[in-house]
Every structure is written in structure tokens, then in C-alpha cells.
Symmetry: C2
Subunit: 626 residues, 2 copies
């Protein structure tokens, strides 16, 4: 088989004729970026063929300047029968997604635990119980069931391996962690002695762009540590459709599965280290992710989510032991997935709704907006629940923005713009030099530039007035936030924010229209997402992300998927409530409705083409004096 060598690393793989260079690069361990998932549409995975024969698809989209520089898209270039050397330019590499960020915005409101997933039974197993239970396992199961053979717990062999040692370490005293979620009682873990703790649980928000975990103490429900990081799947596609594309490539599904597991496990280890516990002490887990993320982490082909009739393989995932999935906690720990309700409304939403009045027995109508790479919206009360999803892109999580980052230390999270000279003033999470700008910072920046007249309703910067912080290169204008390590925002970045907010506004508007109500009928609007705590509602209204309604109706609830997962972990009532919510939700597909495109196009302005919808914003806009 021909040998493919990548430069400058010198890493090499053997690859059969016809293998594409994106695959070969992944197998060689190269971090080639592929935002469209290897679909040949984004033009980011460009490489240079230094030597050897490579065949590039004649229909591949290659911009002339790339062709002139000898660059070809790796995902549409194929190994022939000869050895070759491929150079990967720095600009084609995926940004590092490996760090663990200490989250600044993901506080979780503790709830009083009821009905933990795993209970700890402390018992003393006698050294002999007569003929019928001569074995360690026989005596243990009998003791545990207190004589009732029907109550005997299933004992997986992986746990039984610890039995002989545990029984003999402390005179027969053992602590057994038992779960009932598999339909029958099952032993999850066994420890010698009468342990003080009841084990730990992990709540996971598995987002397309960001993954967050919260480590909790099972008995008290106390949150011990929260960690978050970018999803390591990002180089394999920026949004769920790109990930589905990538999953269809040879080895792609397994690479995606490993990447999300890698992210989750890295975060679990970081949280455990933080709380000074062993990951093996975590005996339960709840994972909430959208439908595609749920499929990928389980190794389920998501292809049919994208193809008509858009049928996912699972919505309700059966409870699995951690080892069957590959989560790095106690191997037999039950892992519960939040139920999904449709191809594009997943477990992150059914978890998030738990943190709102939508989960209460109220007549008042609430609106829940989760702003992530997918934007999901739920409207309802105790009588009805309607949901829909739209593709917003990762802009609000810092994705697709050149200097974007999530709301973590080093991120600019609030911005003020001096109307006179356009100069920025900003705050940085954790203080110090800024490393990037997060969602709330971008919302502030776009709103401030727009309100002070430095940006027009179409998102174009003012090129007429010469100021230091706005510069033009070619046809594009840039706004410089900070000098040291240059931090600047382009009109393309602003366009991404506008597209994201337009998608969400349009989806909400369409839903209201379909239900036949207006914003006046909504008592409460919950905003969830990874913006950071400092989301300025006024500015979110100013750019047209949120409707222009009385501000006291808004509530920013942060990472609701993580907070909801935490509730599921510690509360049986919440688990029951969520099953009920998932059953009651009606899924509406905005993509199937031609009016969605009209709403979207109308919303692609600041704040909207119909400025009458945003009276308070219109009053605030300053027209440039010069």
C-alpha cells in the first residue's frame, strides 16, 4: 500500500488507493480542520502535495488563489498508487480543543435530593450460612436480600471480582452500591467496610461545541466541581450536519465517538481531581445531549436523522452500564440519557426545561430559548408544550468567530463602545489580558457599535469616519478590540452573530404564529446557553436576538442542560417529570415551513427589518453626527 507522509510532522500512514487525504491525515494523528465534516464545501482542509501522485476530484470547489498556491482540499483528494508527501499549512490546522476551562458561568442551583439513582447498603456478611450459601456470593446475596430470594440483586462478574477481598478485609462488613434503574436491583460497586460516603454522580451536558460536567455527592446532592471544555469533535465538523457528514466517512463514526468520549472522560478526571476523589467512586451518570450528539457518543450511525423520513435510531436510550459506553467511572455505574423528542430536539432540551416554569403546574405560558450551535425553543404551559429547533451555528459559544472563545477566564465578556471615537472598554473574565471574546461580549460589542452608529443595520462598519479601531483590508472591515496580541472582529464575525440571532428570532416568531399567540401572551422568557453570566438583556434585545418586551419577564438561566442533568441525577421526582415532559412535547419542524425563510430574512438586520417590532431599540440608536 502507498505510504503517505505528512509534513512538517513527518507522521506517515499506509493507505489504500482511493483513500482521501482527510482520512489519511486523521489516521496519522494530524489535526486537520474540517468544519463541514469532509463534505467538500468549506474549503478549510487545504493541503499541498509536495511529491507523489494525488487525484483531486474535478468537481471540488477550489478558489483560484488556493489553486495558484498549490493547495487542494484534502477531503476531495485521493491517494493513487504512489507514495506521496503532503504538507499541512498551519492555517489548515484545527484550533486546539484540548484544554479544560474552569467554567465561570456554570453555577448550579442545588436541589434537595430525593431517590438517588444508586443507594448504598451497609451490611455484615456472616462467614458461613450453612450448605445453601457456601460461596461468598451466595452469602452476600442472601445477606443483601435479607432472606427474600426475590429481592436478590443481579451481580455482574466485574463487581464479583472484588467480593472475596472485600468480605475478608473488615470482618464481613461491606458497603454495596445498588441501583434499581435496570428494572431489577443490580450491584454497581462493592467496597470493604462500612464506607462513609454514598458515592458520587456525574451530570454531563454534551453539547455540539461545548461539553460540561458537574460532579456531585450522591447523598447530599452537593455540587463538588464543574468543568467544561470544547467538544473534541469540533475539527470533524462545526455543526450537527457536518458531524453527520463526517460520520459517513470510513472510520468517521468511531473517530467521533472517541472524540466525545475523550472530552467527557477528560472532564470527569479533571472534576474528580478537583474534588479529590477517584473516578471509580462515581457510581451514576446522566448525559444530556442533542439527538445527534447522543447518537455519536453511543456509536450509533446518525445518517437517518438527516435522510427522509428523518428517523433517529433512538430517542429514549436504554440505561447502559458505563463500561458499555466507555465512560470512565465505576464500570457498572448506570448511565441515564435524557430522552430526546425528535431529530433536532434532544435530551439537552428536556433536561433544560426542568429548570423552568414549563415543568411546573402553571397556566402561564413560558418561552424557553436554548442558544447553542442548535437553537431550540419550547413554548407552553401545563396544557401544551411545543418545541422546535433551528441551526444557529456556534457563534454565541465563540465558534466561527476568529477570536471567539467560550465564557472562560481570559474572555472579554462585557464591552462598552465610546460613541465619539468608537473605542472599546471591556471586562475580562478572571481579569488580566484578554485571550478572546465570548458570546455575551460579542452581543455587547455588536449592540454598542450599532447603537452608537459605528455599525449599520446590515452589519457593515462605518468606513467613512477614520478612527483607529476600524480598519479596512480589501473589501472587509475589522474592529480592533485590543492591541497587544491583536484581538479583532471582522464583518464576517458580525455576520455570523446576525445569522445566529436571526435563526432563533425567526423560529420563535414562527412558533408564536403557529400557536396563534404573541409575545404579549408570554409571562416568562428563559434564556439558556453558554454566553456567560454577564449576558446584557438590553443588548440582546438591541441586536434583535430577544424580543422587545418588558425586561422583568426575562430570566437568564445559564447552562440549563447541565443544571437539568444534575436534577435528574439527584431527584427521582425530576426524572419522572422529565419523562412526562418528553411525552407531552410536540415537535414542529420550521425547515418544513416556507414562512420560516421569510421570518429569517426579515430578521437578518439589526435589530430587524421591521423596526416597529423593537420600539425601545429604535429610540436608542445614535445617528453618526459626522
Amino acid at each position: 500500500m502507498p505510504r503517505i507522509t505528512f509534513m512538517p510532522s513527518g507522521r506517515a500512514v499506509e493507505a489504500g488507493e482511493g483513500t482521501d487525504l482527510l482520512d489519511a491525515a486523521r489516521r496519522a494523528g494530524e489535526d486537520l480542520d474540517s468544519p463541514c465534516g469532509g463534505n467538500g464545501t468549506c474549503g478549510r482542509c487545504l493541503v499541498r502535495v509536495s511529491s507523489g501522485g494525488v487525484r483531486t476530484d474535478a468537481s471540488a470547489v477550489i478558489v483560484p488563489e488556493n489553486a495558484a498556491a498549490g493547495l487542494v482540499p484534502a477531503c476531495r483528494s485521493y491517494v493513487t498508487d504512489t507514495e506521496c508527501v503532503i504538507e499541512i499549512p498551519e492555517s489548515s490546522r484545527a484550533a486546539s480543543v484540548r484544554g479544560v476551562n474552569v467554567s465561570a458561568g456554570d453555577d448550579i442551583e442545588p436541589v434537595v435530593p430525593d431517590g438517588e439513582l444508586v443507594r448504598t447498603i451497609r451490611c455484615t456478611v456472616p462467614s458461613s450460612l450453612g450448605k445453601d450459601a457456601l460461596s461468598d456470593l451466595g452469602r452476600f446475596r442472601k445477606t443483601l436480600a435479607a432472606g427474600d430470594p426475590d429481592a436478590e440483586a443481579d451481580c455482574p462478574i466485574t463487581v464479583v471480582r472484588a467480593l472475596a477481598g472485600a468480605l475478608r478485609a473488615d470482618g464481613g462488613r461491606v458497603s454495596a452500591d445498588i441501583t434499581g434503574v435496570f428494572g431489577r436491583d443490580r450491584l454497581v460497586r462493592l467496597r470493604p467496610g462500612h464506607s462513609m460516603d454514598d458515592g458520587f454522580g456525574i451530570a454531563v451536558d454534551l453539547g455540539t461545541t461545548t461539553v460540561a460536567v458537574a460532579l456531585t455527592a450522591a447523598r447530599s446532592g452537593k455540587v463538588l466541581s464543574i468543568k467544561s471544555a470544547y467538544n473534541e469533535q469540533i475539527p470533524m465538523g462545526l455543526d450537527v450536519i457536518s458531524r453527520i457528514n463526517y460520520a459517513g466517512r470510513p472510520g468517521g463514526l468511531e473517530a467521533l465517538r472517541q472524540a466525545s468520549l475523550g472530552t467527557i472522560n477528560r472532564l470527569i478526571r479533571a472534576a474528580a481531581l478537583d474534588a479529590r476523589i477517584d473516578t471509580g467512586g462515581i457510581t451514576s451518570a446522566v448525559i444530556s445531549g442533542n439527538t445527534v450528539m447522543t447518537h455519536l457518543v453511543l456509536g450509533l450511525d446518525p445518517e437517518h436523522i438527516r435522510l427522509a423520513p428523518y428517523t433517529p435510531t433512538v430517542l429514549d436510550v436504554p440505561v447502559c452500564p458505563a463500561r458499555a459506553i466507555g465512560i470512565d467511572v465505576a464500570p457498572e455505574a448506570p448511565v441515564i440519557f435524557s430522552p430526546c423528542v425528535g431529530s433536532y430536539v434532544g435530551g439537552d432540551i428536556t433536561a433544560g426545561v426542568l429548570c423552568t416554569d414549563l415543568a411546573s403546574d402553571s397556566e402561564d405560558i413560558s418561552l424557553f430559548i436554548d442558544v447553542g450551535t442548535n437553537g431550540e425553543i419550547v413554548i407552553g404551559n401545563r396544557d401544551f408544550l411545543v418545541t422546535c429547533a433551528c441551526s444557529a451555528g456556534p457563534a454565541f459559544e465563540g465558534g466561527g468567530i476568529d477570536c471567539g472563545m467560550r465564557a472562560a477566564p481570559g474572555a472579554i465578556n462585557t464591552v462598552k463602545v465610546d460613541p465619539a471615537n468608537g473605542r472599546p472598554a471591556f471586562s475580562v473574565i478572571g481579569g488580566g489580558e484578554p485571550r478572546g471574546i465570548c458570546g455575551s461580549g460579542m452581543i455587547d460589542l455588536v449592540a454598542e457599535l450599532f447603537l452608537s452608529g459605528w455599525l449599520d443595520a446590515a452589519g457593515k462598519m462605518d468606513r467613512d469616519r477614520t478612527v483607529e479601531c476600524i480598519r479596512t483590508e480589501g473589501r472587509r472591515a475589522f474592529y480592533t478590540l485590543a492591541g497587544g496580541a491583536p484581538l479583532r472582529v471582522s464583518e464576517i464575525d458580525i455576520e455570523n452573530i446576525m445569522r445566529a440571532k436571526a435563526a432563533i428570532y425567526a423560529a420563535s416568531a414562527l412558533m408564536l404564529e403557529n400557536i396563534g399567540i404573541s409575545y404579549e401572551d408570554i409571562s416568562r422568557i428563559y434564556i439558556a446557553g453558554g454566553f456567560g453570566k454577564t449576558l446584557d438583556i438590553e443588548n440582546a434585545v438591541a441586536i434583535g436576538l430577544l424580543p422587545d418586551v418588558p425586561r422583568e419577564r426575562f430570566a437568564y438561566i445559564g447552562n440549563a442542560s447541565l443544571a437539568g442533568s444534575y436534577r435528574l441525577l439527584v431527584s427521582a421526582k425530576n426524572r419522572e417529570l422529565q419523562r412526562d415532559i418528553a411525552r407531552r412535547m410536540t415537535y414542529m419542524d420550521p425547515g418544513a415551513d416556507p414562512r420560516y425563510m421569510d421570518h429569517y430574512t426579515a430578521a437578518l438586520f439589526l435589530p430587524h427589518t421591521d423596526s416597529g417590532l423593537f420600539p425601545s431599540v429604535s429610540r436608542r440608536v445614535v445617528r453618526p453626527s459626522g
Copy 2:
């Protein structure tokens, strides 16, 4: 860490100070023999220290001739802080145990299947069932349960991975293999289309010396292939006590687990190849092994079986999916272990008894003798079942006999000795040149030599008459069976056979004494074991292995553990019967009774010190004329 290099292979490992050379050799992949399990007692794992410092335990037993040759026992010699080079002499290597022998004696009588472990349901899943079952899994489970939510089967995620593809391959027609043995229905395997076959099952006899598997068709119960081989654990100890020793060494338990899994999986692959099926098509398995073998294949520390109060970790093993154990069949296939009844009466015996009248509703008393490395005995009828075990050693399976082998092609299986000149005449399984001698051949040889006066009652060869086939070297005499590649049997080999038969005879005698009956009261004597079909009952009586009772009472039933496992695989009635048998069996420990030693010592002669017990034998013995 010091580097240890083994010669002549040149394989090297790094090993911490204090690591013993037997461990280091295993980790280097060297096949050093260790019949006592690294206990420092057999003196077989001898190595030569070519260079570097090695510390040998001062208390280690080293015979002067080994010391003179520079040989030290590896299991009692330890790495110091320097690199060293260790030479492994050819004589210290374990004999190869890797071949797959086509068994010559392991026919299995087919039974009519009733209640298979896994049933195949052929159904057609509609492409949509409305809102409540939008997902593939939802529709599939609903179809399978025919509308009854309580009947919905558990679906492991490993099987769900095949669901989307299977549903779309043949218009929704799928074949689902379901088992109820986990307490609730569970999906084992999923295939597209309405498959013709109901899957396959594998019955495993996991013996200390020999492992055998029988591959069966689930629906018809037909036996498709039988394969057997030596247990790859043999180099890590010849008998169960040595294996327990070895399991206590660092990494020893895992090495033993892998060795037995390796043997089983090799045989499964060979049987599947033979029957032209895929191993993934095997959806159920039954394993019958003695208590120690059962612990080792499950990775359970067998230490407490040997230590007072002799408590095994498991007797009744919970049903496990194959992947949890590491058996190379369908990952979710249920694996059932035959229940053990005591530390030294295991699942091989409860399986074997199924093939005898002991499992019937008869008043007649039967005796069951399983002659393996452990000898196990069961006496009883419908009213009582008593069992015991004794350590016979592997002699009847060809172990511990220099040219011994199991009853496989190339083995001498019957022997006649010419009384006049002591010359042998023999038959070879499969014809051709003999490669060794199996149990039935050894019984014939010892009996014929004894009856014709070439061997005395103490097992010593006649040195007074000069014949070609008996030669003396030092203090030992040898009997040459064949010339080409010299095949000879020593007095030590004969002693091993005599010890084995004495142990079994003594255990039977003690049991009869305890129950208060004699051989006259026994209607039927079943003999199970790996001798081969050609076991000559007359000769087995002549050496004192079997009692001198009317010959029509004997029945040789071959590998009863394998045949019993097969019955468990295909018959629910047999599974129920076996549970009842295991519950009813009373375990008797001959080792705890001082009279056992008396019986044993008395039986260490041919046929016995009390020749009155063997009247028919006494009449046949020819006294040498010269």
C-alpha cells in the same frame, strides 16, 4: 529498571528489583514450565544465569546436580539492581499445548431440544407507528412486544448499533434473537431479513488438563463439530492446587484467565470453521468446569478455595453476557455456567451426572466416577446424592507421563503384551506412527505387564529377565513401546498411574463406608473421563482402578462434562434437573477423614494390598516361569 534478557530467544523485559525470573519470563513471552505453579517445589523451571546479578532464595530446594550445572529455579530467583542475561534450557520449556486435536472419543448422543436458551423472533417493523415510537428502537421494541409494554425486551446498546441498518436492509423484516435467562427478555442479536437459522450454541468442558467444545445448531440440537485441546494453563501448574499457587503470583490470575480464554476461543474458532459458520452466529454458551477452573476463567481469585474454611467466591455463577467474560461469540450471548457444589466438586460433575441414571427418578443406586486431573465421585439415587473429590493428577489424560498424550490421533490407545518376551502390540488412533500414549493405552499397558508378570504388584519392572523392551538406567527401569522416535514408559510414569487409580479407588471406598453400603448394592457404575473410547474395563479392574464387580454393571460414558453441557444448552428440562441435582448433592471431604489415607495406601498396589477384593484379577496373574 534492570533489563532481563532471555536466551536463546533474545526476548527482553524490564523488571523491578525483586521480580522473580518466572514472572519475568512469562512477561517476555517465554514458555517456561512450572508444573507446581511457581511454588518452588517441582524443580522444573530451571534457568542458567549467564550474566548479571540474580539472588536465589537460600531455602530453595536445589538438587546438587542442578547446582553443579549452574541451574537455579526461576520461581525462587529474583532480579537485583543489575541487568542480567538468563538462559532457558530446552528441558525447562513447557511442552506445546497449542494444537487443536480432532477428538476421537468425544461423540455426543443427541437429545431432542426443548426450551432453547435463545429464541429467534422474525418480525416486520413498520416504517412508522406514530408519535410515540418515532425512533427505530421505539418501533422495534413495540413490534417485538406485540403491543404489550411489559413484554418489551432489554436492548443492549451493542446490539442497537446494528438496528438502523437491519431495519432498512429488507423492508423492516428482521430476525431478533432473544433470551429470557437474565430474568427479563433481552435482545442478544439482530439480523436483517427473516433468517433461516436460529443461531448456534457452544457447549464447553473446561477441564484442568483438557478443554473440549461442541458446536450445536440451536433449533435442531444437532452437534455440528467437536474440538478439544490441552488447556493452555498447563505450563502454569499441572493440577488445581498449582494453578491456585500461580494465581497468587503478580499478574498470575490474569495470565491464567487469558490462557483458558485463549484455549476456549481457539476451539470455538476451529469448530466454527469446521461447521462453516461465523463465531458471531453463536448466541448461547454453557461452560462446565471444576470450581477452580470456573474461578480462573472468570478472573476470580481462587485463593480462598485452598485456605480454611475453603470458601469459593462463587458456586452458582450469575449468567453473564459473553463480552463480560471474553468468550469469542456474539457479544451479548448469555453464558451459563454449570453450578458447582463445593470447592472440589464443580460444574463438570453436575453436568456429567445429567448423562447418568443419577439424574433419573430411580431407586437403584448408581456410582459415577469422573477420572480427570481431579477425580470426582457421586453415589446416589432419587433419595440421596453424595459426592466427593480427590486429586488424581493428570496421568489418565496423558499428563505427567513422559510420552503421554490425550486420546487423539497418534495416541496408542490399546496395548497387548506378549507374556513370553514382554513385547508390545498396540493400536494407534487414526493409524500410522504413534506419537504418544493415552489413558486407555496406559491402563492396558500397566494391566498387561502386571498380568503377564513383567510388573510386580508394587509397579516395579522385572529386571531379572533380560528382554529387549525393558532397560535399566541408574535406578530406574524403562519399557520401550516403539522404536522409531523412541516411545518409552518409566517406572515413574507407572507410579503416577498407580497414584491416580489409588486416589480414586480410595475415595470410592471411603464413600461406600460412610454411606454404609458395598459395591454389591450398586446397580450401575458410570465411568467418565478422557481415556478414549477404547477403555478396557477388564484392564481397569486389573490395575485396581475399578472394583471387581460383574462387568455388565459398568458403562463408559466418555466426556460426560461436555455431553452434559450440551444437554444444558438445548434443554430447559435438563437445566432444571441440574439445578435440582446441585441442590441435593451433599459434599464429603475425603481429605478431612484420616481413613482416606489408609484406603489410599492400601490401594497403592496392583490391584490392591487386599487381593481378596479382586478375585478375578488374582486368578489371571501369570507368575514368571524363569
